[in-house]
Subunit: 109 residues, 2 copies
DNA sequence: TTATTATATTGCAATATTACGATATATTAT
DNA sequence: ATAATATATCGTAATATTGCAATATAATAA
């Protein structure tokens, strides 16, 4: 096959997997880190910073935007991409909750 | 193409992307959640819990194990899979750091 | 030993992702 | 209007992922 059977899983599980997947590529991790590093956040900067072609970066940005990990606002000629704190916090809370719940049990490994 | 150009990115970026990618599938999210929910953590339980075939689940477990998100110890006939707190904490700290660093700057979106 | 149970591996088909050249679109500058 | 700049989309090739049937492996049970 190749298509993941998302019907078999809950909406929450699919959503979290999608968020993780969006961050599951070094270029997209690098984009997120670059957005953190700089104050201005137009796409050209990213193209110059990351050694991938403009269409490829545009595609990665689109995936991050779809996952709501970043948000972009058109600013004249260029686009201002920024991190979406709400989504990042959702990821952090999820992982934190997993760790916390698991720590309450006696581990067997 | 199709192969991600991991040479272009730092070891840290590749590592974090790999961790995220390992969690980037609903079946693997479901496996992690199931490991949290139950105390005993053999694979058979997972096969009964998640509507995918045994080989498919075995494959997903392998990916989680490769990423060190879970660890398994052989226990007689079966295997005891548990979460790896160290790795999960690494993910949590990373996201937390991103949010923290970004909040220190004035957002432009 | 033979059967049973639990898990892993192999092989393969279907689908998805990654990357980029070419091209389109849209805004600003001249 | 024309050129320049910034970003998106299309088309396509290369590679990766997903899923499973069949089979292998390994431990325990009978």
């Amino acid at each position: 096959m190749g298509a993941s059977k998302s019907d078999y899983f809950s909406a929450e599980q699919n959503e979290m997997a999608q968020l993780m997947k969006a961050l599951g590529h070094p270029a997209r991790i690098a984009i997120v880190e670059h957005l953190v590093k700089i104050n201005s956040c137009v796409c050209t900067d990213i193209v110059n910073e990351i050694p991938l072609s403009q269409p490829t970066i545009s595609q990665h940005l689109k995936e991050l935007k779809n996952a709501k990990i970043i948000k972009g606002t058109i600013e004249g000629n260029s686009i201002c991409y920024c991190l979406n704190h709400e989504t990042l916090t959702k990821i952090e809370s999820y992982i934190k909750q997993i760790i916390k719940t698991d720590q309450e049990k006696k581990s067997c490994c």
